[in-house]
């Protein structure tokens, strides 16, 4: 059981600020997912919690207490490394029980723990093997087992499923959610994968270039993005953005919130455009629509539109977003919100 707090944390590498004055509270017992583009500082953040890459300034608190002077092994933190970092010269069993041995757990207890954990991650048959004889996915599971067996109060995971195949990944995703429910410990989970983030998180922390863009539950991140970056990062394909032509304001709508038809549609925002590409995804079809100089992606259940066909699209008012020239969201209570909305009618 532990909550984690970053207070005015800055991290520099060779005089370059990677994390700038970050404040973040990770709730006790929550499944928190860190997402963001490659190189935004997710791993750096995890390493600060673990104590293996300490912050340049500011403090990291565990349960309200500064942990800067506590050795990594004494923080009750376990970490699954992005590149696994399993001990290459030890067998799978030795890898898993190494931490237990260091903590002087007795032999019977150790055996019981190792066996139940390896059962849970499906490694029972491989306990005697050397890591070099395992596949990437199996190694990743060794790394998971090694972290799980220590029964930590904080679980740090750096893209732990990235090397598994789609089926195993889906399975492990469910297993991890269940594990989290069962243990009730704090999970901090890093991923590139939005689906993982959306499906697993209690709270998503979206970062870009060392700054937190938004910190909210998955629904809120999706429906109420704080700024253009969040709006475009979450959702595939990303939100369509267009220039409104007033005060540098931009508007946006998600490809999946569009009504498309060959007939004119009744909506606050409509336009008629030409289909330029068509991608059949199965249950849905993805179209690129050209309108004047810009193009928009739309996702529709209707798959009968063809390339070069002219179609009408419409978006409802609650699915339209406005962003100021600095990228921040303009909310409904903004004094000019109605003006921008009216401006869009003439787009």
């Amino acid at each position: 059981m532990a909550s984690i707090e970053f207070v005015n944390v800055t991290k520099e590498f060779e005089k370059k600020e990677i994390i700038k004055d970050l404040n973040l509270r990770i709730e006790d017992g929550k499944f928190t997912v860190l997402v963001g583009p490659s190189g935004c500082g997710k791993t750096t953040l995890l390493r600060m919690i673990a104590g293996i890459g300490p912050q340049t300034s500011g403090s990291v608190l565990l349960n309200g207490k500064d942990i800067s002077n506590i050795a990594p092994g004494k923080r009750g933190v376990a970490m699954v490394f992005q590149n696994y970092a399993i001990y290459p010269t030890m067998s799978v069993r030795e890898n898993i029980e190494f931490g237990l041995k260091n903590n002087k757990v007795n032999k019977i207890e150790r055996k019981k723990l190792v066996e139940s954990i390896s059962e849970a991650v499906g490694l029972s048959e491989y306990l005697g093997r050397k890591p070099s004889t395992l596949s990437g996915g199996q190694r990743q599971r060794v790394a998971l087992a090694r972290a799980m067996v220590k029964q930590p109060s904080v679980f740090l995971m750096d893209e732990p499923l990235s090397n598994l195949d789609a089926k195993l990944r889906a399975q492990m995703r469910i297993d991890l959610i269940e594990l989290h429910k069962k243990l009730g410990t704090t999970f901090v989970y890093v991923t590139h994968d939005q689906v993982e983030a959306m499906s697993m998180a209690d709270t998503i922390v979206l970062m870009n270039q060392g700054l937190i863009q938004q910190e909210a539950p998955p629904e809120e991140i999706y429906h109420e993005p704080n700024n253009i970056f969040v709006a475009q990062f979450i959702g595939t394909p990303p939100m369509n953005i267009g220039e409104l032509g007033v005060d540098g304001v931009r508007f946006g709508f998600r490809p999946e919130s569009v009504t498309a038809s060959t007939e004119p549609v009744e909506s606050p925002f409509t336009l008629q455009g030409e289909v330029t590409t068509r991608e059949m995804l199965g249950s849905e079809t993805l179209y690129q629509i050209r309108y004047k100089e810009t193009s928009f992606m739309i996702k529709s259940l209707i798959d009968k539109f063809s390339v070069n066909q002219k179609i009408h699209i419409g978006v409802n008012s609650d699915k339209l977003y406005f962003f100021a020239d600095d990228g921040d969201r303009i909310h409904k209570d903004h004094i000019h919100y109605r003006d921008y909305f009216e401006a869009l009618r003439g787009y």
Partner: protein
């Protein structure tokens, strides 16, 4: 068509032919000739007068006191050089494995003796080890320690030669070990830190196993090299005093003009000892060496 098939079969042999000729001329032939000589009482003035004497040379080797003396010297020398070099180079390598500019400079310094000819090294140390005017005794005395006779006493001569050999070779082995240590992913150490591993256990359970292939390589290379020590002995002591530093190769060298057959037989025995030792190493240690 038929020609083609013949060529198919011959091609690999033709390809390795040049290398095989070299190996045969410079490795196999001298070895066989050495073996051949070892069965003769060889006459240097008139080789036609050489006489086949079967295993007599070998029987003689194993019944002569001075052979055992030089064998013992060689074993002590090898043991000393190998143990000291492994220990010291490991210590220095661990110390130098952090990538800082200072460490690169120190490492270059430690490597320098390796590029100096062993003859020059031996001469310099010979002079430094001179009991009355030498630098080493000067240092010992100014530290208030009793001076040593170094090369001039049968008690300390062999150890003195060991010091010189270790000093000369250590830079090379430090280089190998530093490279091995730097090749270990820092993430492994971080994982160990998170596993609450003590410093000693990190070294014993993670660092050592990971550099064991290089350690094993050094062990084999050094054992073979040390068993064949010659130059230092030749220049610094000439095998003395009182045969205290007479090693196998120097022993063989001693018979170069008097008894070629006997020298050849000793050479064969030396080869056999090194071969057996290497096999024993592999047999004992291969399970402790972790290749990835």
């Amino acid at each position: 068509m038929k020609n083609n098939k013949v060529w198919e079969i011959l091609r690999p042999y033709v390809m390795i032919g040049p290398a095989m000729i070299g190996i045969f001329l410079f490795v196999i032939y001298p070895m066989i000739y050495l073996l051949y000589l070892s069965f003769f009482k060889y006459n240097l003035l008139n080789s036609a007068m050489s006489k086949y004497i079967g295993f007599s040379n070998y029987i003689q080797i194993f019944s002569r006191e001075d052979f055992y003396k030089s064998l013992l010297n060689t074993v002590i020398y090898t043991g000393g050089v190998v143990t000291l070099t492994m220990l010291i180079s490991l210590l220095i390598a661990v110390w130098l494995s952090k990538r800082t500019r200072m460490n690169y400079i120190v490492q270059a310094g430690i490597f320098t003796p390796h590029i100096i000819s062993i003859v020059s090294v031996s001469l310099v140390w010979l002079w430094m080890m001179e009991p009355n005017l030498g630098f080493l005794n000067y240092v010992l005395e100014s530290l208030g320690l009793p001076p040593s006779q170094w090369l001039q006493s049968s008690k300390t001569a062999l150890f003195s030669i060991i010091i010189v050999s270790v000093w000369h070779g250590i830079g090379y082995y430090v280089l190998i070990l530093v490279a091995a240590l730097q090749g270990i992913s820092p993430n492994i150490y971080e994982a160990a830190a998170l596993d609450n591993t003590s410093k000693f256990r990190v070294f014993h359970r993670i660092t050592l196993p990971l550099i064991s292939p290089q350690m094993f390589f050094i062990l084999i290379i050094m054992t073979i090299g040390s068993f064949k020590v010659f130059d230092t002995v030749r220049i610094m002591t000439g095998g003395g005093p009182n045969n205290a530093t007479n090693t196998l190769v120097y022993y063989i060298y001693g018979f170069r003009t008097t008894n070629i057959g006997y020298a050849a037989a000793t050479g064969v025995v030396l080869m056999a000892i090194i071969g057996i030792l290497t096999i024993i190493y592999f047999w004992l240690l291969s399970r402790k060496v972790h290749y990835q």
